[in-house]
Symmetry: C2
Subunit: 245 residues, 2 copies
Amino acid sequence: MHAKLIPLSVPELREACSQCNLRELCLPMGLSGGEIDQLDHLVEVRRRIQRGQHLYRGGEVFEAIYAIKTGFFKTDVLLEDGREQVTGFQMAGEILGMDGIGSEKHTCNAVALEDSEVCVIPFADLELYSREISALQHHFHKMMSREIVRDHGVMMLLGVMRAEERLAAFLLNLSQRFTARGYSPTEFNLRMTRGEIGSYLGLKLETVSRAFSRFNEEGLISVHQKHIQIRDAAGLKKLLSERRT
Amino acid sequence: MHAKLIPLSVPELREACSQCNLRELCLPMGLSGGEIDQLDHLVEVRRRIQRGQHLYRGGEVFEAIYAIKTGFFKTDVLLEDGREQVTGFQMAGEILGMDGIGSEKHTCNAVALEDSEVCVIPFADLELYSREISALQHHFHKMMSREIVRDHGVMMLLGVMRAEERLAAFLLNLSQRFTARGYSPTEFNLRMTRGEIGSYLGLKLETVSRAFSRFNEEGLISVHQKHIQIRDAAGLKKLLSERRT
DNA sequence: CGCGCCTTTGAAGGAGCTCAATTTAGGTGG
DNA sequence: CCACCTAAATTGAGCTCCTTCAAAGGCGCG
């Protein structure tokens, strides 16, 4: 059950951030070359997580945050009665675990939706380096703040949008994030099930499936199981802006 | 329209945090006496906001975060078509504005629900002091993290709970926060309208009103307009834990 | 004391849920 | 390589919880 640990002892591997092709998206964003070199000491170990395995679970002691190097995750919280709320889907370059700082325990579960690899960033070290490198400090604050803003967007989804608006917003968000990583804006494979999308969007899996089918009929997208092709991004955006009520 | 600014130049007033009775709840939490004295230089000005006025609006340049000294606020985001999502209600000792760090602009509106006073904390200064005082740095990170965790709780509300569960959770949360401030856990006045509660909980105001009436009939609470008395906190908690589906 | 805003309550309607059956895809072992 | 098995997805039909629309009552404030 133990996730594979990969100590970065070999010199080439130790260049964790300075050689990483995600450095423009990830924690080192906006840092100078010299500053990034310092970060190489911050990330001493990587972890491989197989599809379906947990990176961490709610209740576990918080010690580090994680930068996703490759792969795809979901985070969720569970109610005592077993109901699940997916709080987010995370991809390469994004940070996991910031929820644990406040209570020194993780407050949600992080599960790999495909075989993944993360960079382990011991949080005490991050705070130490942040006191030295103000650009790092500032960027970390920005990342936390953006997480808050993202959460507000999800509240908006859940609080005021109707089912098809939610799904359209979800697809456009995925598209935009894939684009930022150099993938096609219009064609991608979903890593999550209809049930997980539904949990994220506050809908039942049948409703998600029906909305996909509807979009398909209307020519907005093509869906075949997990494969999505966006045919009319403008049409999806219009769904969001036009009030129905 | 301009909010009243109060420069803290008189020596007694300059002791912003060290003399504040909220220091156990607010930003200085966990700091040593000497460290708190340093914070007095961080808070150079306070602002009074009258009921109904904005502390800040989405789109405005972000320069400072705000600690609520007295009063009560709501934060909300608006969709182009005018639909509103209330993202939170904030009371004394809580921090406003952390959403603005990421984009250097405020991303939501903060509105006073009663006449209020806030301590202005210039963010650049906060980062400066954070580099010197590691306890401050760490505590600030905790506050941001707790905001993320709080948001996950709201997603849970919105995503999986039914109307009465949402309202019960809302009342219990308020009760707990009033208690932490030395007020009665069982009796308080709501500062927000049914519509604002509804927007926060993803419900229509009529649904909120009906749920209040139902709780009243069942003896869980007494409601008279904005005055709430919790009669059976255990009963409200039970509403949350028992599955219906 | 009158006006506006908030709240309450009723009745009808609808978006999304539940339950259920069928299809499809992917993995496994013979 | 095919048969089998399981998990995921699709689709239909009926139902329910919340919304919508409407009207009346209450409170605070100028």
